[in-house]
Symmetry: C2
Subunit: 253 residues, 2 copies
């Protein structure tokens, strides 16, 4: 989720968490990270989201954030353990970076020089460390603009995606970067707001009652979370950047 005003994710997370072992088979752990100012609240659990007291808390406790990344895991590489749960967090240039990946990379063994190393054993965390390492190598000690970062990330995502499926989201709290390898959908909610119904449970919310006309919220997810809104599908290989709830058109390289 990426928004122009701090927004809680209770509605979307309620539907999403059901896919962690109930309406879908992703029951090998879950996680969610909320940016709040420059800080991050990071929750991970290697139990299924549907059974997790922490997930229950997040459904009920309105943590407001402009950038949220959540993940439910179906283990492909790496055992079921806490250190293998997404999203992963690292610090670079005095900011936190949060990353989650859906997919499976084959024979992906980039040379890591030690500045960022995986703690767990997933292809995903290895890919994240590689992205961070190359990003720092490219921009050295100067945090780049979102535009420069976009050009860099689109390129490295394309490179990593050549090893397999690489649907990924990355955020530094200012922008949300998204690469689609096979399957992703998005939606921008803005004025005039309507009511929305979850696809995974009987639960409707009327956004006209909980928003102001200036609010704008982008939600990016594998499969649409609601069944009465106009979700748009990413194309394979597509890379998009969201800032303040809106798509920033990528610059042409």
């Amino acid at each position: 989720m990426n928004c122009n005003t701090p927004t809680d994710i209770m509605f979307s997370f309620t539907g999403f968490a059901l896919r962690g072992g109930n309406t879908d088979e992703h029951r090998d752990g879950w996680g969610i990270a909320f940016f709040e100012g420059n800080g991050v609240r990071h929750f991970v659990d290697h139990h299924a989201a549907v059974d997790s007291p922490l997930a229950e808390l997040i459904k009920r406790y309105p943590i407001k954030s402009k950038n949220v990344i959540a993940h439910i895991r179906k283990a492909t590489q790496g055992v079921v353990s806490l250190e293998n749960c997404h999203p992963f967090v690292r610090e670079c240039w005095g900011r936190y970076w949060v990353f989650a990946h859906n997919g499976d990379l084959k024979n992906f063994a980039p040379a890591l020089d030690g500045v960022f190393l995986p703690v767990g054993s997933t292809d995903s965390e290895t890919a994240f460390c590689y992205v961070m390492q190359e990003m720092r190598r490219r921009f050295v000690d100067q945090a780049p603009s979102t535009a420069d970062l976009t050009v860099f990330l689109r390129e490295i995502c394309r490179e990593i995606a050549s090893y397999g499926t690489f649907n990924m989201t990355l955020s530094n709290g200012a922008a949300l970067f998204v690469h689609c390898s096979t399957n992703l959908h998005y939606l921008v909610r803005q004025f005039p707001f309507t009511a929305a119904s979850l696809a995974d449970e009987e639960y409707e919310i009327d956004f006209t009652e909980v928003t102001t006309p200036d609010d704008r919220v982008a939600v990016i997810v594998t499969e649409p979370l609601t069944n009465n809104e106009n979700w748009r599908q990413f194309l394979p290989g597509e890379f998009k950047v969201f800032v303040d709830g809106a798509i920033v058109e990528p610059l042409m390289a």
Copy 2:
């Protein structure tokens, strides 16, 4: 807390959390990090621990861990915000490192080369980044033994403590390193276990009922958490290392 078998911290945290705005004035945020395997569960909140739904969850939800670091904050430097809440987490050599500090450093502005940078504005996070940077500089790309790390950390803690008050705890999930500048107490609970009563609330637990004879748990805290156990006070300038719930005698440098 440092233990030889994964142990929950619900009893100790119940008393500790009361000091975050009730029996003590540390109400500018709180945090706790639990190692679980190589993974870390990290919870931070910039609201007072006594008012926090997250703190309530942790009092009731038995997260078992061999190394836990918790902190309640009374802001001295840095505003009240999420990014200024302890403990802080960084990755080095493919392990997470967790750090918390109690005290106040004056005119402490070490040269940071960018490998680890603070996200917030506290002297504490700056000190942590400095420790991590110097640690990597000293041992390069080879994680040191606990013994070598002890010699290094004791020395750098002494250096940082020359700038003010530096009561700190640091863990990599294998050992818990503790430096006392002014005030810290510790206790090792082991067979034969007894009953203990919290100092901050009417709450007693009989450890004989929830332990096995092999269990060993060290608890390190500013002020004793119970009023009927034999807490020992650190000496000013003392540095101790805890592994598997026991003190490892520091090597002489």
